[in-house]
């Protein structure tokens, strides 16, 4: 079946929904989502959305922009960070005015809490900048935006999964989509296509990410010939529930929680004397791994799956129940502990992709020298780049609303002046053949490839890296991409065939794992979340540049793109 829309938005998380609300003001818009919209992983975001409202402490957007750039270890494009911080303020008011139930200050204003790396006056002390709704901020953003979409009668295609991007040269013409219910392959012709497909933490064994976070957008875009930016920078959040990876928000530390090693020592005093437990995530994750390697983890066996303790007992039951109720619920369900009484066992968990589809500040996809007409990306799958080498907490939700909105607005304008492209007569055929081929294969279940990918990425491309491990990682993933050729789809049905999609998702993860590992191996310095034991220092002379990487004929090719440092000169990063 062929559909025709001015704009197609792929993804219904915070970024996709915001873009859809804006685009649909002028453009005939379809939102295509593999999940029912409110199941998107934006709904899992807990701690808050950063904006310099100054409701609790004095604050201003300039400080927010600076913290973002320093937090990103100067790989951030600085004008983009300035836009992020400035537009965050109005974005938060807009969400509130549309019904978002923020927690309130005693005066009835939007309440704010402290978060890692967010400071007053260029690093003096932590500032209350994160606007929050208990520990359900993302869920409330997702609900509020979806509610607005219902109100404005936005057109949704739920449980439709995009498998291919159609380009004519450098101009977008549409997407090829698989419909779960009927198993039919659809072609959506469009003047503009925006990818907002979220993250891909599922390439790692321990992750805070949903099963659906398989990086479909970046993989599909890359296969159409567009390289991905800064894929070596993957954030490990310091506090995932031991063994499961379920996130314990940084908000716990924002409210006063502290990290302890096996000796009961508040070890962050040694690593970040000013910000302590509220240092940026890359630093706290490294501090935890260093403690573990020194035998000061709780088990003390120095293995990478050892853990430390996060203590919130001194905050009191009142604070735990009103400010972090969901965390208390997770602890009860999964650990059978009460965080108002007992400390939580935590370890770093793969959390956020700083890299992704390269865009400008209007969400348009651009590489070093090519602009792809009509093609946009926003949210976690995009790389603007406002997060550089390490994202600060609360800055992703801001990214979604600020750049989701900007991309939506740009689309609304762009489509009024563009003609409807045409797609080749056989569009969709390649996907149909591919699915038929997968179903006809004899072969193995996908489980072993999935598990091996996740464990090799965790062990070899994790918090601390070196040449030997990353080379092993690259070789392992290449071998798994070979092994993938004998993975088959057992399910021959056409209705509700989830397995076809799961196997194509695995292929996406394998490709992105390869690019991540190869980009990491290529960057011979340490910066933000990319921390090498064999190149321990940041090297601005050689490496103050963005990586652009793609798979060509089975191998990863790498080029570069300059970083915008037009506001603040890069400095050593201490807290």
């Amino acid at each position: 079946m062929i559909h025709e829309f001015d704009a197609v938005i792929v993804g219904a998380g915070g970024a996709g929904l915001y873009a859809a609300l804006e685009a649909s003001k002028t453009a005939k818009t379809a939102v295509i989502s593999k999940l029912y919209p409110t199941r998107s992983h934006t709904g899992a975001a807990q701690g808050g959305i950063g904006a310099a409202l100054g409701n609790v402490d004095e604050d201003n957007p300039e400080w927010h922009a600076f913290d973002t750039i320093k937090g990103g270890d100067y790989l951030v494009d600085q004008q983009a960070a300035k836009i992020l911080a400035e537009e965050a303020v109005q974005a938060v008011y807009d969400l509130e005015n549309r019904g978002l139930p923020f927690s309130r200050t005693p005066e009835g204003r939007i309440d704010q809490r402290r978060f890692g790396g967010h400071t007053r006056n260029f690093g003096e002390a932590p500032v209350h900048r994160s606007c929050y709704a208990a520990d359900r901020t993302g869920n409330m953003i997702l609900q509020t935006l979806y509610q607005q979409c219902i109100k404005n009668q936005v057109h949704f295609f739920d449980e439709f999964q995009v498998l291919e991007l159609l380009l004519d040269g450098t101009r977008v013409t549409g997407v090829v989509v698989f419909e779960l219910a009927g198993g039919e392959v659809h072609v959506f012709k469009a003047k503009a296509v925006l990818f907002a497909t979220g993250g891909f933490g599922r390439m790692f064994r321990i992750t805070s990410n949903a099963h659906a976070n398989t990086g479909d957008g970046p993989a599909v875009v890359m296969r159409a010939g567009i390289p991905l930016e800064d894929m070596e920078f993957f954030q490990f959040h310091p506090t995932g529930i031991k063994g499961m990876g379920i996130l314990i928000t940084e908000g716990v530390r924002g409210e006063g929680g502290i990290l302890l090693n096996s000796g009961g020592e508040r070890f962050m005093q040694r690593y970040a004397p000013t910000l302590l437990d509220l240092a940026p995530r890359d630093m706290v994750s490294r501090a935890i791994m260093t403690e573990i390697q020194a035998g000061r983890g709780v088990r003390g066996d120095r293995k990478i799956d050892d853990y430390v303790m996060l203590d919130a007992g001194h905050l009191g039951r009142e604070v735990v129940e009103s400010k972090i109720p969901d965390i208390a619920d997770f602890c009860k369900t999964y650990l059978a502990i009460d965080p108002a009484e007992q400390p939580m066992p935590v370890q770093p968990t793969a959390h956020y992709a700083m890299g992704g589809i390269p865009t400008d500040t209007d969400g348009r996809v651009v590489t070093a020298d090519t602009l792809y007409e009509g093609l946009y990306a926003a949210g976690e799958c995009a790389c603007v780049s406002v997060h550089g080498a390490n994202r600060l907490g609360t800055n992703s939700l801001v990214d979604l609303v600020v750049f989701g909105r900007r991309a939506g607005r740009h689309i609304a304008e762009y489509v009024t002046g563009a003609d409807m492209p045409s797609v080749p007569a056989d569009a969709g055929e390649a996907v149909r053949l591919r699915i038929a081929e997968l179903k006809s294969r004899r072969g193995e279940h996908p489980g072993p490839v999935y598990e091996k990918m996740q464990s090799t990425m965790m062990e070899n491309v994790g918090v601390y890296r070196d040449e030997e491990r990353m080379s092993t990682g690259v070789a392992d993933i290449q071998a798994l991409r070979e092994a993938f050729k004998s993975v088959r789809v057992q399910d021959k049905e056409s209705r509700f065939n989830t397995e076809v999609l799961a196997i194509l998702e695995l292929e996406n993860l394998l490709d992105l794992s390869l690019i991540t590992a190869a980009s990491a191996l290529n960057r011979t310095e340490s910066r933000g979340a990319h921390s090498r034991v064999d190149y321990a220092e940041r090297d601005d002379h050689q490496w103050l540049k963005h990586t652009l990487a793609a798979i060509e004929r089975g191998a990863v090719t790498i080029t570069y793109k300059p970083v915008d440092t037009s506001i603040w000169e890069p400095k050593p990063r201490t807290y």
Binding site: T38, Y93, N97, I150, A181, H211, Q490, E493
Partner: protein, 246 residues
């Protein structure tokens, strides 16, 4: 330990009738039921159909009947539903919605009712400052209702829906209450046409089944009763009678 998942399956290939299939899985007592399902799906039988995403109880994808009770597979640990090695865990699709395949149900009607409740802010006030000012007490009045993840567990458990499939159902009333009790919203009035009707709030008979199964611990029955009371108050103030009494 080993457990057996006894899954009620149904797909067009095997005909329209449900049948049971058993899978033996090696698990830890602290694994989630969803982990056991994933193990089967990835290593034993890729045709087993179910929804899932977040894996920690916040997206609402994987509500099902686990040992005959509505629960999220990702929020139920093996040890919550077994006593010893070799125990059987039964898994079946939710009730009151057509089965699509295996554990997947068609939530179409459920979401239609949700949308009918006008689950979005309706207001003609302008915020007095850049944000609406709302006290902590006002915010608290609708906090519980914001927690819903549309998992449909309550909709499956509700005994009223056995008899009356047209009943609006617990989750849609929660969605309405979310705004009815929000000081920024016009509240009840724009939603009366959905709530104050014979199939609106009134069929609820206080069985509390919804409240018992809600994985978000929302006091659903209480919210339904508060909404009923609000409607009566509204009608009484205008000398009208509520639909219940008509």
């Amino acid at each position: 330990m080993k457990v057996t998942l006894a899954v009620q399956r149904r797909n067009s290939e095997a005909g329209p009738d449900p049948y049971e299939q058993r899978f033996e899985v090696g698990v830890e007592p602290t694994d989630r039921v969803l982990d056991a399902l994933m193990e089967v799906y990835r290593n034993q039988d890729g045709t087993l159909s179910f929804r899932k995403s977040c894996a920690h109880g916040v997206c609402g994808s994987d509500a099902m009947l686990i040992n005959d009770e509505e629960r999220l597979a990702c929020k139920t640990l093996i040890q919550d539903v077994t006593e010893q090695d070799g125990d059987v865990i039964t898994l079946a699709p939710l009730k009151h919605m057509p089965v699509q395949r295996d554990l997947m149900v068609d939530q179409g009607r459920f979401f239609e009712k949700f949308r009918a409740a006008k689950p979005f802010l309706i207001t003609d006030q302008e915020p007095s400052e850049r944000e609406f000012i709302q006290s902590r007490e006002e915010r608290k009045l609708f906090d519980d209702a914001t927690k819903c993840i549309n998992c449909s567990a309550c909709y499956s458990a509700c005994p009223v829906l056995d008899e009356n499939p047209e009943f609006l159902g617990p989750a849609a009333i929660v969605a309405a209450a979310r705004f009815v009790f929000d000081s920024r919203d016009k509240g009840l009035e724009p939603r009366l046409d959905v709530l104050d009707t014979p199939n609106g709030v009134w069929p609820c008979e206080n069985h509390f089944a919804c409240t018992r199964v809600c994985p978000r611990d929302i006091k659903i029955t209480k919210l339904i009763n508060l909404t009923k009371r609000e409607i009566k108050k509204y009608r009484e103030a205008r000398g009208e009678t509520a639909a219940e009494a008509k």
